[in-house]
């Protein structure tokens, strides 16, 4: 009976709500509630490095990823598929209907010089965050706010710094790396600066600051919506 039941087509249909429940009780221990990471890696990415598609994700859940991640041998095929479906949704914003026109938005992107700081599909200047797959990570509302008030939605690893050298020179920029003894940052021109903290007069984290200006006054309401639609459509390299 059990074998027959397991083979019925219904049992292969994943149930995201079930997947969420199983994830919370079995997976969140390491991957964090909502897959935000912990002992194990964060799963809130559009594509997971070790399980980039649904099939490999199901396999990873069922068999584990040696040496650290145990396999969930206790789960049924349907339960595994359900967890996979839930995990896939964690890092991916589903396409949504937006009022703007993406093609016009691409022109706005070019005209306003966004490529002077952002890379899209390998084109542009790699200074700020890459936008090639930004639409799979951020929804329209988030993107709209980011264009108008960039500091309100800073990426997790983004931090501005200001250092003052022993000679009194001040350098501001985006943190490239920091440890207890040294700090590396890129200034507005993209130049890398590396300092030993012990040799500085001071260094400050400028939490909540962004090097990107607000585009609120440079865009009409229509241009903003078009730009948002364009960004939302950027869903990654093929």
């Amino acid at each position: 009976m059990l074998l027959l039941a397991a083979q019925s087509p219904h049992d292969a249909i994943p149930d995201v709500a079930l997947g969420k429940r199983i994830f919370a009780s079995q997976c969140a221990v390491c991957h964090g509630e909502g897959g935000t990471g912990g002992r194990g890696p964060a799963l809130t990415h559009a594509k997971l490095a070790k399980a980039p598609d649904e099939e490999s994700l199901r396999k990873a859940i069922a068999q584990g990823i040696p040496p650290e991640m145990p396999g969930a041998w206790q789960l049924s095929v349907r339960e595994v598929a359900s967890v996979a479906k839930y995990v896939q949704g964690l890092g991916t914003v589903l396409p949504e209907k937006l009022p703007g026109d993406a093609r016009r938005g691409a022109q706005v992107f070019g005209a306003k010089g966004c490529g002077g700081c952002h890379l899209v599909d390998g084109v542009g200047t790699a200074r700020g965050p890459e936008l090639t797959a930004i639409g799979a990570k951020r929804n329209g509302a988030h993107l709209r706010t980011s264009v108008i008030a960039p500091a309100s939605h800073l990426p997790e690893d983004y931090l501005m710094l200001e250092v003052t050298t022993a000679a009194g020179r001040t350098v501001r920029g985006v943190r490239a790396a920091e440890d207890p003894f040294s700090v590396q940052l890129r200034d507005a021109g993209g130049a890398l600066h590396s300092f030993r903290k012990g040799e500085l007069k001071q260094w400050r984290h400028l939490a909540g600051e962004s090097s990107m200006p607000s585009f609120a006054k440079q865009l009409s309401a229509g241009e903003l919506e078009d730009l948002v639609a364009y960004l939302a459509g950027l869903r990654g390299n093929q």
């Binding site: 009780s25 969140a28 964090g32 912990g38 206790q74 997790e156 920091e178 440890d179 207890p180």
Partner: protein, 524 residues
């Protein structure tokens, strides 16, 4: 007819137990070796070598390095007679300290169906006694190896790994016995501390960290919850040879974040226990976190310190705990003497006069989530603190992280997670850490050295007035033991998730610690 060579050989074997117990007890007389996990039985991770000082530590250079074929090295080496003994999951090796070259290697296959439930595949170090090296394996065997060749003398099955028992700790070798504890606190195990005959591998005693029916303390578990209550014992304990008492830290109760099925204090989880070294019988216990629901194991190396408290010499056991409070107890009785928070915590108003936390209501995990400091990894965790008898300071790598704790259903199935929830940590940018120096009798902060992220490294203090530790960013560094001033650092290229040691090579002081997959040995 007796063969003269055989007679000689036998006589030699009897005389030449390389590391008799007495040498470990008197280890302070030979600081050039490192004979037990924490350097001494008192858990101090303190080196009596005075050569490296604030004035010359800047001269430290890499003398040699050893690369493991795994990404995370947590081993704390043993050093004796010009040989360094190291371990990895189901592996051990002996290295020539002059050159770093491996003299022998030992490996035991990890069964294909073995799973680490709730922790990494790591090993924290070997133990040495007489003519053997002792290694605890992931698949829950205690193995004795010949010191000279690495060949196996015996292997004792400690428990069945399939329901979730495992071992990652360095064994503790005392007189004639080798002690181990188990991992598996997220898999519904029933934890214990075991002692094995060092010569034969026969089990001498077992102390169950959860009392069985009819035993005192079993009433602190609702229903049958004691059977799957966790209480792992996964970090090496300390030992007082004069009192012949073993001190061991006990892990969290299970399911971790859902305490509904295990109403009560859940003894002896989140406690220190004092065990008779001869029999394993409980002398006393002290519970830091009664009915824990935040995974705050008390699996720490206890620090045994004799010092004056309020005008009277006391035999103390002290501990900066995962729950963010520092505790000083009398180690003959378990009496609470002093305690205070040493890191940010939002779950207790303080400690009462018996050392029991005065809870702030509403800080237990919930369906919607509750933000609490510290995170489930605690204000500190398995990596070793250090005590310097020179400065009378306790050094602890401290994690400043808060988490939103969630409560979920938990159903026990052997060999699977029995956790009942999880956490979401505050954003990485808001997390930080520090090396803190605390006054031994009170836990009062003497100084701190700030780290950019919450550390995973243990601490070594030395007679030259130095404190060594590491960072997640790969820095291996030395601070002034009195002030915390940074004096030397080296970029090791991988996170430091290991305990440093110090020893001598041909009479010169060296320091060893792992970063990433590499064990570094530094000297002048």
């Amino acid at each position: 007819m007796k063969h003269p060579v055989a007679v000689l050989f036998l006589a030699g074997a009897a005389l030449q137990a390389q590391v008799p117990y007495e040498r470990i007890v008197n280890g302070h007389k030979e600081p050039g070796n490192w004979l037990t996990y924490s350097g001494n039985y008192a858990g101090h991770r303190y080196s009596g070598l005075p050569e490296l000082t604030p004035a010359n530590v800047g001269n430290l250079r890499v003398k040699w390095a050893y690369q493991f074929d795994l990404n995370r090295v947590e081993t704390s080496p043993i050093v004796d007679g010009g040989v360094m003994y190291i371990s990895a999951p189901n592996k051990a090796a002996a290295l020539d300290t002059k050159t770093g070259r491996a003299i022998w290697n030992w490996e035991r296959p990890i069964p294909a169906d073995y799973q680490s439930i709730g922790f990494g595949r790591v090993n924290r170090g070997p133990a040495i006694l007489d003519d053997k090296l002792y290694v605890a394996t992931l698949d829950c065997y205690l193995v004795a190896l010949d010191l000279k060749t690495g060949q196996q003398r015996w292997a004792a099955k400690v428990e069945d790994y399939k329901p979730g028992y495992s071992m990652t700790l360095a064994p503790l070798a005392i007189k004639g016995k080798v002690l181990v504890g188990v991992s598996g606190g997220e898999a519904g195990i029933r934890g214990f501390v075991d002692a094995y005959d060092a010569a034969t591998g026969k089990r001498v005693w077992r102390f169950y960290a959860i009392p069985g029916p009819g035993e005192p303390g079993n009433e602190t578990w609702a229903g049958d919850s004691w059977k799957t209550g966790g209480a792992s014992t996964w970090v090496t304990g300390a030992y007082d040879p004069e009192l012949n008492i073993v001190y061991w830290g006990i892990g969290n109760p299970g399911p971790d974040w859902n305490g509904d099925s295990r109403k009560g204090d859940n003894l002896y989880t989140c406690s220190f226990v004092a065990l008779d070294g001869e029999t394993g019988k409980l002398k006393w216990h002290f519970q830091f976190t009664p009915h824990d629901t935040h995974d705050w194991d008390a699996t720490h190396v206890p620090l045994l310190v004799d010092t004056e408290v309020r005008g009277r010499m006391r035999k103390l056991i002290v501990n900066p705990n995962r729950n963010a409070f520092y505790y000083a107890l009398d180690r003959t009785s378990g009496e609470f003497l002093a305690g205070q928070a040493y890191a940010k915590q939002t779950w207790a108003k303080g400690l009462d006069d018996k050392g029991r936390p005065i809870l702030i209501p509403g800080m237990e995990p919930s369906e919607e989530g509750v933000l609490v400091w510290p995170s489930l990894n605690g204000a500190t965790v398995w990596f070793s603190p250090s005590y310097s008898p020179q400065t009378k300071l306790v050094y602890v790598a401290t994690r400043e992280v808060g988490s939103t704790y969630f409560k979920r259903e938990a159903q026990y199935k052997p060999g699977t997670f029995f956790a009942g929830g999880g956490e979401t940590r505050i954003p990485e940018k808001e997390q930080w850490g520090a090396i803190r120096a605390l006054e031994v009798a009170s836990g009062k902060l003497a100084w701190e050295f700030r780290l950019v992220s919450p550390p995973w490294s243990g601490i070594l203090s030395t007679a030259g007035g130095l404190v060594f530790s590491g960072s997640n960013e790969g820095n291996i560094f030395a601070l002034d033991a009195k002030t915390g001033k940074p004096l030397w650092d080296f970029q090791g290229g991988g996170a430091v998730m290991a305990n440093p040691i110090s020893f001598a090579i041909e009479g010169k002081q060296h320091v060893a610690v792992a970063a990433g997959r590499t064990l570094y040995v530094f000297g002048q």
